[in-house]
Symmetry: C2
Subunit: 128 residues, 2 copies
DNA sequence: GTTATTGCAAACAATTTGCACCCAC
DNA sequence: GTGGGTGCAAATTGTTTGCAATAAC
């Protein structure tokens, strides 16, 4: 586990812990500027990449190709509408046991998991 | 449920059912050309969008922003390495019950779900 | 004939990369 | 002073859109 973090990595991680929802790299870039910690967009991406690899943040890539970042251990489960893209968090999570099982049988170090249901929300079902 | 499909939608769906793994839109475009069913790339995307909305295909967006398409009801569960991007399918799936439960309580029509574990594979753990 | 579908090229948007500058040690 | 970290701008990549040509009914 790496403990040596660059200035921008610290900034990004601190910001993520402050916010209460997943945000995009571009959001982070703008948010930092507003807090007088202006950081180049490329640097934000580089910091996120590093934090991701040490397991400090988790990523969820949306169908439009944009990625959202969260500190690890925040909820990562969603009900996502394929039409309007609305994503509702869900609480239930029946996979803890499976996770530890996979770690062992695959020699794979699991940082986090994501469970997502796709379909049509109430509203979009009507408008289709 | 729509039954009227355009020519390109039929081509795309037929192709997907032929292949035994998820492919990108660009893969589909090239594969169709090889089968003398050349179809514009934009048309492939439009066909996939339509098929997605009627629940005939499922999508998985990779961390690099590329989307992979599959006919619905094929495995959608993976163990993905954050470093090298390798994605290993897994069989276990403990969420069928939760799915029907969500359909009811959220008025949400679920087409499919995806369960993915992220971390580092055996090899990448060593090289980090 | 009218309407939906298609292909091409241009437009877009998120992300990555090259490279010069700068800061920390 | 040296090496990693950073910022900017340019390049890249997957996807979407405008619009004229075409096919379907």
């Amino acid at each position: 586990m790496k403990t040596q973090r660059t200035r921008s990595q610290q900034r990004v991680l601190t910001l993520l812990n402050t916010l209460n929802s997943a945000v995009s790299a571009q959001d982070i870039h703008m948010e930092l500027r507003q807090r007088n910690q202006t950081t180049g967009l490329a640097t934000v991406y580089r910091a996120l990449e590093a934090l991701k690899l040490e397991g400090a943040v988790q990523v969820r890539t949306l169908p439009n190709g944009e990625s959202l970042y969260d500190p690890v251990h925040r909820d990562q489960h969603h009900l996502t509408c394929l039409n309007c893209g609305t994503s509702t968090p869900i609480d239930e999570c029946p996979v803890q046991e499976l996770e530890s099982q996979l770690q062992q049988s695959n020699q794979f170090k699991v940082f986090y998991h994501s469970l997502e249901f796709f379909g049509l929300c109430d509203q979009c079902q009507t408008n289709s």
